[in-house]
Symmetry: C2
Subunit: 768 residues, 2 copies
């Protein structure tokens, strides 16, 4: 089954409108919560008067942050660093708000309409404070994002390999660039949502949460509520309208809503609306890179220095993004001297955290823009400059020279970057494209070719786990801790299990994302699940096959090695009479007969479990190549051709990997050319609806050709890496490279993503 | 910890009134169910008119059996036999009722009061049919307990060893007796109760049930409801007011109540009241034994033939009781020729199933009465006759000659019956008691000494399981499938786990009886849990100790063999600086750091599991000795002295074993001298309250001395057997033997249990 393009099990229900998203769950008698959010980027709360709201029709309760002091405990950053100056992010801060959209109060009412009506009756007395709305402003300390903080720096991180100062000084050539990548959001079709029901009879609260990390949510809630984890059941419903990173974080609403359900003894539900999603769900991307590159006359890289300003937003929900950025700068290239300096700044905008790509698109943008500049400077072909610097296929495991964020040497496990690049260029018809570019230029048209190559850490630790159980109905039930966000876990993990079991996939069921079903788990993020839960499923299923063969052999009176599986049956090889179904086995060993001894040799309790902890991260890689025609007057761009070369190691289901890459590419095109959630200087979001925010739709996504390479990861038995982000990561760089290449005759410079028509025409105007 | 008389953890809350029994659970918005029950022992239902009841105040719904055809499926007998003629026991029969108390309709209302009021408005048109109210009537076929059945026989079972006919014919002496043991109930302080809540959002129904077998209940419900077992969560609350066997069965109410909860989408609760408990909760005991014994002049047994009539009641909920009776007849004696013939009959009384002792008291009554008759016949001391026949300590494993009900040869694993008997007699002061008896007789007083020795199969299969998990709060959580019925599982299994772990018991928590926490289990019955779940806990805890030592060793940088445990800490032996708590270990291995690789060598997911399947049943044994003074005129009896010798193998907690034995003894005294739930000839129960049923209370229980012998079972690593029933089993035999011995000068015969004053004076009158 592994490697087959099995149709997604999920699609039947999803495509026929039968998906049950969180808001579709029948939660009998549920109350509805609506949050009052700060209209100010930075303000002191002098008072909250909710008396009128409490009298409003249908209102059951109103709580400001001060009304729930017992849960106003700082939400821990998901990824820490000893040097981080962590300013407390409270679930619903009672004293000071730090971004537009931060929860200030919550109304619980019989309907969402009544709750929202009552929100308008709450009077909050704010003292408006000066806001910080960019990393530049943050570093200039014109204002403080948090009153009383020393400065706006969350952390300064330096990564060093070799002696970059010396190397840059002595390099035959150096070039510098400054690049900016703007914020971008996850924009999942289903926004965040959380509902909770407390059961006094068990003392357990059941929480339905669109989270990517149910076990993480449970752990945080356990600490805040001071309840045992076993008394908190977090279910991430299997049908979820996307995650993309923001749902891997943990938010104040996830603390407030279940707590109110416990307090009131009533079911309470909150579903984020689209406007809330714009202002209150975490974003990513906003970084400025000032990069210096030293190289020799052949274009060989000698040194890279990158000074990165990272917009952490109002709070640090985790340092993963800037930390990933610093380790992504070197990419697929041999660079003897590397120096990165990161300044993560607090600003008065919604906090940032991982969005598909997670810090990598920015690093790739800076580095790949510079590779093109080096080529231009030396008069070399951009592909050729890349070729001369790529780590070669025989150099793995390859030590990059800097450190991964767990303190270990950053080491690529496997790959074949030259083959990836050449394969991608071949499929593009690189030579023909260059010839076409020449012809176009001769016709006065501006056509450019952009290439971007990247390496992506994925399959991260610490671990994932899986169970396989022979159910008493004679099915094999695979239980994963991880919660899918649309990737098709029900299909993929049934394939992996069926492969190991030798049982027909029809008899394999998959359940996910329910903390009551498996005690330990981490979550769906960082393109990690196939490479972590996958091996756990595979191993648990291999153990299960052995358990089934042993049991069947005892009952059939044969050697376990002679038991073959087909459909749902275990049969003595060559003797179809000696055969039993999974249900037969379950009836004997699981159910047994009341008070009667099991048949000799039968071991009860047919459930297997496996946890897989990867030794270190695996590294997927890819190359994108774009051909773009630009109208220099209007800035209009037309992507004529696009090829994605993608290597995520061994593939479980090529159809699903293609889906991931194409979805990621749509996301990448949005980042490259359209999406920008800009804020004004007071930290007021200027794009809080799709009228203002150009979310990419299918008409904007150009046709694309996919090319796959498979260099198995040696770090897990499936040889798998991650496939969720490669479509996104290099797209802004490839598009920007292509546009600048198109405009090369005009010497226009493209230094920002997204590359929008106004920016292009401005760049052309600047260059004239 | 094993072997220590640790105080019960449960007692603090139970003794201070903080126990939460099923009716105490806060089930917000619960509706209350009340059952209309048949007032007839046997009748055809011609029609049910519930229209008035449906209009009654507070009534939400009324269902007769015919209104719920989808769940009218036969409840499977818990223990089957291929020869059993199983007449269908429906949850709420729509057509014919077969005992007084059988559910006919159910009202669901806002309160139990309103539900009971509405019951009176339901009109049922019955056609009364002739009833069968004794095994004699059943065998005579005067009437049929079920219309259309061929006869009233459920099953005829014959057990044979040697050639009993020949042996009886050739025996130097033979004696015959006929003995009757009446019905008796479990009379748990908390009656049966079931409540259910359906959660549409998960499709799961949660059922709180006082059952002794939550996994069995789930399995039955899965079959009847046609729902996956995983969608049914059965919780047997940890606080339960006793079980004693009747709650190990599965009843119609357990099907009806959750089904209504699912249908209505409302929480529904039913708590059996005491009157219902008398008429609708299963009973046991009622058997007639016609026994022939052949022996030589030394009193050595040559052959035993026992013809047993067993009252199965209206349905066969399982054949365990009569099957246990037949295998208990031989007891601790070498008997070369055995023949038992069992006739299990359907009658129109509440079905019978196991009650503490489960078929053994009846067999012991018949056999031990005959041992006294043999002694009397030969003019030997009753103790001496027993001595001459006991299996000796060097004869184990001892094959009895007949079969156990799983088809394997009935084999005693270990024991020392002579030591048990002598120890018991020593503690009684047997010689002094005989001397005292002589003196009393000389004074015209009637004092007798009764002895009864028994062997008890316990620790039955098929298996039990346990998990041990290092929780994220740094505790060790032991999860058992089995549901306690008051035996102190929270204490005993914490002791067993702590012993294996070397961790302070204070850090060990125990949860039980929740099908959502462990997938497979059997239940609490047949004194089996210590000998089945005990080894599973022990093994899972040993595995856990290894996991903890391995993990701590990796983190402390030492050899796992050098890690010692103390309190909740793992420490490098001899280096108190190198130490970490369970919480430290959990933080590293279970929780981990988001996206960071685990430290080298750390294996995540610290949970261990073990299922233990005993090779065959273990055999506990015991001897009771009683001194009773009888007033032959009034029949009044005074138990002057009572000694219990008890061998349940190795003991985990002697305090708890003493509690079990003493509780069982109270039960046994009730069976021996007081309790009788008699029915009239129409099958009408004549004792349906404690005004009519003489439940034993503390004032009736005589002082008793306990003597323990410990012959470890070789069948499990703890060497444990079962302790729950030994106090009960031989008590009726010992008391009857003592009373007959007291009355020997009058030659009065005691052939029935209970031995009540009217029976004694009648026996004296008969003998005169």
């Amino acid at each position: 089954m592994i490697g087959e393009g099995v149709t997604r099990r999920e699609d039947d229900r999803l495509l026929t409108g039968k998906g049950r998203y969180l808001d579709d769950l029948e939660l009998t008698g549920a109350l509805h919560a609506a949050f009052l959010r700060s209209p100010h980027a930075h303000a002191r709360i002098l008072g909250v008067d909710a008396s009128a709201a409490r009298q409003a029709p249908g209102v059951v309760a109103v709580f400001s942050g001060a009304d729930l002091p017992e849960i106003q405990k700082p939400l821990a950053p998901k990824v820490m660093h000893p040097k981080l100056k962590d300013l407390p992010r409270l679930p619903m801060p009672p004293e000071e708000v730090h971004y537009v959209g931060e929860p200030v109060a919550v109304v619980v009412a019989e309907s969402r309409y009544l709750a929202e009506d009552a929100l308008e009756l709450i009077e909050v007395d704010y003292e408006i404070l000066p806001a910080v709305a960019s990393t530049a402003a943050a570093l200039a300390k014109d204002a403080l994002a948090h009153s009383g903080a020393e400065d706006n720096l969350a952390v300064t991180l330096v990564q060093r390999s070799g002696n970059t100062d010396e190397a840059l000084k002595s390099a035959p050539h150096t070039l510098s660039g400054e690049f900016f990548v703007t914020r971008g959001g996850g924009h999942s079709m289903e926004p965040r949502a959380v509902a909770a029901r407390f059961e006094p009879a068990t003392g357990q609260v059941t929480i339905w949460d669109t989270t990517q990390s149910p076990h993480y949510a449970r752990q945080q809630l356990s600490l805040i509520y001071e309840m045992a984890e076993d008394d908190i059941r977090v279910i991430a419903p299997a049908d979820v309208g996307g995650g993309f990173g923001p749902k891997a974080q943990f938010y104040g609403e996830e603390v407030v809503v279940p707590w109110i359900a416990i307090k009131l003894g009533r079911t309470v539900k909150w579903v984020e609306d689209r406007q809330e999603n714009f202002v209150a769900t975490m974003m990513e991307r906003s970084q400025t890179h000032r990069i210096d590159v030293g190289f020799d006359g052949d274009g060989k890289l000698l040194a890279v220095r990158d000074r990165i300003e990272h917009d952490q937003g109002a709070y640090c929900a985790g340092l993963q993004v800037p930390s990933i950025t610093t380790s992504t700068v070197p990419g697929p290239y041999r660079i003897p001297n590397i120096h990165t300096e990161l300044y993560a700044c607090y600003t008065n905008m919604v906090p940032t955290s991982s969005v598909r790509g997670a810090g990598r698109p920015q690093a790739v943008f800076a580095m790949e823009r510079m590779m093109d500049r080096v080529a231009e400077y030396l008069g070399l072909d951009p592909a050729e400059v890349r070729r001369r610097n790529l780590v070669q296929a025989d150099e793995f495991p390859y030590r990059v020279g800097i450190m991964f964020r767990d303190g270990s040497p950053l080491t690529y496990d496997s790959g074949d970057f030259p083959a990836l690049l050449e394969g991608t260029l071949d499929r593009l018809g690189y030579e023909q494209a260059r010839a076409m570019q020449e012809r176009a230029r001769a016709e006065g048209r501006y056509v450019g070719i952009g290439i971007a190559v990247y390496v992506e850490g994925c399959g991260l630790g610490p671990y994932e786990g899986a169970k396989v159980r022979l159910t008493n109905e004679g099915k094999l039930l695979v239980t994963l801790a991880a919660a899918p966000q649309g990737q098709g876990y029900e299909t993929v993990y049934a394939q992996i299990a069926a492969e190991a079991l030798g049982i027909d996939m029809a008899y394999v069921e998959v359940v996910t994302g329910d903390t009551s079903r498996i005690p330990f788990g981490q979550g769906t993020f960082a393109s990690r699940i196939t490479a972590t839960a996958g091996p756990a499923v595979f191993d648990a299923a291999l153990q299960m096959r052995e358990r089934l063969a042993d049991t069947a052999a005892q009952l059939l009176g044969c050697d376990p090695a002679d038991v073959v599986f087909d459909g749902d049956r275990a049969t003595l090889d060559g003797d179809p009479e000696k055969s039993m179904s999974l249900l037969d086995i379950a009836r004997v060993a699981n159910i047994g007969k009341h008070g009667i001894t099991l048949p000799a040799g039968i071991k009860p309790g047919i459930e297997t479990v496996s946890y897989f902890a990867p030794e270190r991260a695996a590294y997927a890689s890819g190359a994108h190549a774009a051909v773009v025609e630009v109208d220099p007057e209007t800035g209009a761009m037309d992507v004529l051709d696009y090829v994605i070369g993608h290597d995520c190691g061994n593939v479980i289901n090529p159809r699903l990997v293609d889906g991931q890459v194409l979805g990621g590419f749509a996301h990448g095109i949005g980042n490259a050319m359209y999406e920008e959630p800009f804020y004004d200087d007071e930290g007021q979001p200027q794009a809080a609806s799709y009228l203002d925010y150009a979310l990419v739709s299918s008409t904007e996504v150009p046709p694309v050709e996919l090319f796959h390479l498979h260099t198995p990861s040696p770090l897990n038995p499936l040889g798998a890496k991650g496939a969720g982000e490669g479509g996104t990561i290099p797209a802004p760089a490839a598009i920007a490279n292509a546009v600048e290449d198109a405009l090369r005759p005009l010497r226009a410079r493209i230094d920002r993503a997204p590359v929008t028509p106004p920016r292009v025409s401005d760049a052309v105007a600047d260059a004239r």
